[in-house]
Symmetry: C2
DNA sequence: CCTGTACATACCTTGACACGTATATGCTCT
DNA sequence: AGAGCATATACGTGTCAAGGTATGTACAGG
C-alpha cells in the first residue's frame, strides 16, 4: 500500500551481486551483519548499506539482539519475481525440447549461409552458448 | 567460466524496464523492431540498443525478413533466472504460512520488547525514484 | 540509379549508484 | 561514567549505462 514503486525496483535490487550474495547467505539461516561481513569479505559499511536497501525493499527483516542486528529473509519480493517469471514459463516449457533437438541437428551439420542473429557482433562478448547458425527467411 | 560473467549479467539485463517490456511483448509472438517501437512508444534507436543487449545476452534471437528483423524469445537466460530463484523457493513455501500467522499475531499485540524490522525505518532519503518517463505501469 | 524504408551504430551528455573513508549512534559490561 | 564493540550514516568520488541526436548500412521498388 505504501509502495507501488517497489515492485519495479525489485529487479534493480537483485541486479547487485553483493545483494544477491547476501540473500543467498540468508537462505540457510538468519545472520548478523558481522557474520555476513566476514563470510563475504566485504567492508561493513557496504554490508550495512546493502542491507538497508534490501530491508526497505522488503527482501529482509531485522531483529535486534543486544548490539547486533539479525537479518533474515522475507518471501514476498522474491515471490513477485517468481510471478513475473511466470509469464515466460509457459513459453519455455513448450519450446525448449523442440528447440534443443533443432539446434542439436543444426550444430552437427555444415553451416548453411543463412544468417541469424550473427549479423555483426561488434562487441566481442563471447557468449558461446551454442553456435547458432541456421534458419532464416 | 566465460559465461559466469553472463550469468551475472542476466540480472542486470532485466533490471531495465524497457527491456522487460520488450520481453513481455515477445511472449505472445515474434515482432519486428518497428512493431516494438510503436507498441512501447519508445524511439527506434533505443529499441535497437536494447534488442542488441538482449540478443548478446541470449534472451532473444533475430531473423532477417526483407528489410525487417523479426525478434523472438529464447528460453535459456530466463531459465537461469528461474534456477537462481529455486534456492529460495523451498524457503518461502516452507515459511510463508507460518510466518504470516506469526506476524499476524505480532501486529495485533502490543510490541512487547521484540521489535521486528520497524526499529527505525529512517527514510531520510526518498530513495530517489528513478525519473523514468514512458513505462506504463 | 535514386528514393524511401527499416534497422543499426557512433558520439555525447547526464544521472545513478556502488564504494571507501570517516564519523555517528546504540548497547554491554566493568 | 567510560571503554569498547556492533552497526548505521554522511560525504566525496569514479564508473558505467541509458537516452538523445545524428548518421551509416542494407534492401525494395520505380
Amino acid at each position: 500500500m505504501e509502495y507501488t514503486k517497489n515492485v519495479e525496483s525489485v529487479f534493480e535490487i537483485i541486479a547487485e551481486p553483493n545483494r544477491r550474495a547476501i540473500l543467498s547467505l540468508l537462505v540457510s539461516s538468519q545472520q548478523s551483519v558481522g557474520e555476513i561481513e566476514r563470510q563475504l569479505r566485504i567492508p561493513q559499511p557496504t554490508v550495512s548499506k546493502h542491507l538497508r536497501v534490501l530491508r526497505e525493499a522488503g527482501f529482509v527483516e531485522s531483529t535486534v539482539d543486544a548490539q547486533r542486528r539479525l537479518y533474515r529473509l522475507r518471501p514476498n519480493p522474491l515471490q513477485e519475481l517468481d510471478a513475473w517469471l511466470g509469464q515466460f514459463r509457459r513459453f519455455w516449457s513448450a519450446h525448449l525440447d523442440a528447440l534443443e533437438r533443432h539446434l542439436d541437428r543444426m550444430d552437427q551439420k555444415t553451416p548453411t549461409k543463412r544468417k541469424i542473429t550473427k549479423e555483426k557482433t561488434t562487441r566481442p562478448k563471447p557468449r558461446s552458448n551454442r553456435s547458432k547458425k541456421g534458419e532464416a527467411k
